[in-house]
């Protein structure tokens, strides 16, 4: 009886495995991104024009919530079904180190600027990496309710941490990243020295001590859509959020909010190609198209994230629906007030600081 059972199981398992390995057609690409308004902007700026020009290629858009869990699982199972993934730079570097993503020869495989400048010179400095083709610069910044305070309005990071002058609840991301930097900036550390100070045990102590001063007034968010909602509901007077989401709350939903660009933390988002995929050439062709100067500038019509190419910046036009100039809503427009996140520093310290942050939250 046991033997028959084993044979049946093995037979059916084999059949199931066969069914799973049926591969997609050569011209179908699975493109994975964050979903929502962001994917919508990519569909309009990249996917639709590309499919119009290349009728043989079908781009499937898949949503995910970030991180490398799925890419790693597919790689370990030896069945990579995602052809292209939209990732933040820190995940791209990590995935690259672990061999999850393909390395790119930038100048040979990416489009040059219209004036002939090679890709490696045209992309903003320090945004290109071995396995990473940048699309946009986004930022995490504070917004506040413009109807919350009479008289003086908050302008700086120190104001955000000033409960006396600007009382009320704040919402911050439930993660040490960004919050520790902001705490130090509010405590008087210049943005250029933030990671030097954080690199010392005393600096970490100092950051947590500053966060202690507002801890009781903080609601912690984990989902990117939550802070804008909390601000709109009047649950909080300050909130951190991705600038694109804040833009849509302010300009599209006409919420009484304003962004404090001081201390904004800029981050890079872009494409990475999982290694082991079956359609490498087709994917590379799409990536070359989607990251050329015009396409990156086009995306800014639909969402307020800054293109990662220098040559795209002058081409930024008006919002497709609202008709307002998009250039003043780009994080890159306020680059001098903020700083680029220290992803290498966080790669080293994230595991430990996350535990420490969670322990601090529970105290």
């Amino acid at each position: 009886m046991k033997k028959t059972l084993r044979y049946t199981t093995v037979g059916l398992a084999g059949a199931a495995a066969l069914a799973f390995t049926v591969s997609a057609q050569a011209t179908e690409l699975n493109v994975v991104s964050w979903g929502g308004a962001y994917t919508a902007s990519q569909l309009k700026a990249y996917h639709q024009p590309y499919m119009k020009a290349n009728s043989g290629v079908k781009l499937n858009s898949i949503d995910y919530s970030g991180g490398l869990a799925e890419v790693r699982a597919q790689s370990e199972a030896g069945n990579v079904t995602w052809d292209l993934v939209d990732v933040v730079v820190s995940d791209a570097i990590r995935g690259c180190d672990e061999g999850l993503f393909m390395e790119i020869d930038n100048d040979a495989q990416l489009a040059a600027a219209p004036d002939g400048t090679p890709a490696s010179k045209d992309f903003l400095e320090g945004t290109l990496f071995d396995c990473f083709i940048p699309q946009i610069i986004y930022s995490t910044a504070f917004a506040y309710r413009t109807d919350a305070f009479k008289g003086d309005q908050p302008k700086t990071m120190a104001d955000v941490f000033d409960l006396k002058k600007f009382p009320g609840k704040r919402t911050l991301q439930r993660a040490p990243i960004n919050n520790l930097e902001w705490a130090l900036i509010a405590d008087g550390v210049p943005t250029a020295e933030v990671y030097d100070v954080l690199g010392t045990p005393a600096g970490v102590e100092r950051a947590f001590a500053k966060l202690d001063t507002i801890k009781d007034s903080v609601i912690w968010w984990t989902e990117g859509a939550v802070p804008a909602q909390l601000l709109a509901d009047g649950e909080v007077v300050f909130g951190t959020g991705y600038n694109g989401r804040l833009f849509s709350a302010i300009e599209e939903e006409k919420q009484p909010l304003a962004i404090i660009w001081d201390g904004q933390v800029m981050d890079i988002d872009g494409w990475a190609i999982p290694s082991g995929g079956k359609n490498k050439e087709a994917v590379m062709d799409f990536v070359k198209f989607a990251t050329d100067t015009q396409r990156l500038a086009d995306q800014a019509k639909y969402i307020s994230y800054g293109p990662a190419r220098k040559s795209s910046l002058p081409l930024i036009g008006k919002h497709a629906d609202l008709g307002i100039d998009m250039a003043p809503h780009m994080p890159t427009n306020y680059a001098d007030q903020g700083f680029l996140t220290g992803f290498q520093w966080w790669a080293d310290n994230r595991d430990e600081l996350n535990e420490r942050f969670e322990a601090w939250l529970q105290q």
Partner: protein, 421 residues
Amino acid sequence: MAEATVDQSDIMRTADGTPLKVSIGRAMRRNKLIAMGLIAPLLIFILFSFLIPIVDMSLRSVDNSIIPRILPNTIVALETWDGQDLPPEEAFAALAADMTAGRESREIGKVATRLNYEVSGMRGAVMGTSRKISKVKEGPYKEALIKSNKAWGEQDTWLLLKRLSGKYTFGFYLNAVDMKYDVQGDIIAQPDFRQIYVDLFIRTLWMSLLITGMTILLGYPIAHLMATLPLRYSNLLMIMVLLPFWTSLLVRTTAWIVVLQSNGVLNDILVWVGLVADDARPQMVYNQIGTIVAMTHILLPFMVLPLYSVMKTIPPTYMRAARSLGANQFTAFVRVYMPQTVAGIGAGSILVFILAIGYYITPELVGGTSGTLISNQIAYHMQSSLNWSLAAALGAILLGTVVALYFIYNHIVGIDNMKLG
């Protein structure tokens, strides 16, 4: 062989001459095969979607194969090292060779990630060194390695590598209970500021117990009403229980946010009635209260339904008999009615408790800092930190706890007394 001794003519045979025993056996076997074929899809489904993943995840919690696989020469070279001072030049040369090979195969990042779980900063040390050392073609490697990163000049780094040379490790389980190995390999507690998991396990247990208790308190009267009211009223009640049950979990959770938040429905009513001042609205969501209220509501049907099905079978005549024998309503209820519902309470409690202990999305949304559970940390390690081994260890401990509680329950109440319907 036993048949051989029996006289052939005594055996009962079927019409075609086969022994009856063989014939029946054949028919039985066919029936068994058909039965097996019928349950085979379920069996295979459970095997592939449940048992194999669980075993695979559990193995990850002790898996340490990355270091021996990617740094094989280093591990061999460290075998003879006595742990005093720094290892000999061969170990440095072996590490340089392993790192160059690991960079070639693009797997050195896995070592970097693994070592960084143990000591913060090792990720940068490994990645930076592997980049530089692949250009160094000849020794001495000791100076070259130390020059590229000072971590290789520290005895602790090498002790760490030596400690992680086995294929299996218990370290993730230690991490999951807020402990760790020190450089000597002794087990010590994590520093205060990194202790989170034990508290979360305890909180998960007591909040699940509390939520189970709340569902009994709230569910018992409803189930009793449903079982005793005339059919047209009880049907209406049943719909009111089932309708939320069929509604999406996310919808119900976000509905509670709308009700409980500071500017939410409940607070507005309290202010309007005058019970609380407008500027002193109580915080009822994004904390423990939020989690307990929302989860109690969401899990309530799992208590009401088994209770109802048990109560439905209790004849009303028992209560009447108890009353006629002189018991008052209260005594009759407590001594006669309630003992008969224990099976339903048991079934409902087990359902609610086990569901609550692994709840993830509701605490994530309404729990804030004080109302999140261990499952939220497991999800974090699965999705963000990618420390799947730690997630597996946390999950295995949770699974172990549930199984242990189940056996305790079985011992005290007896699982045969449970009735789901």
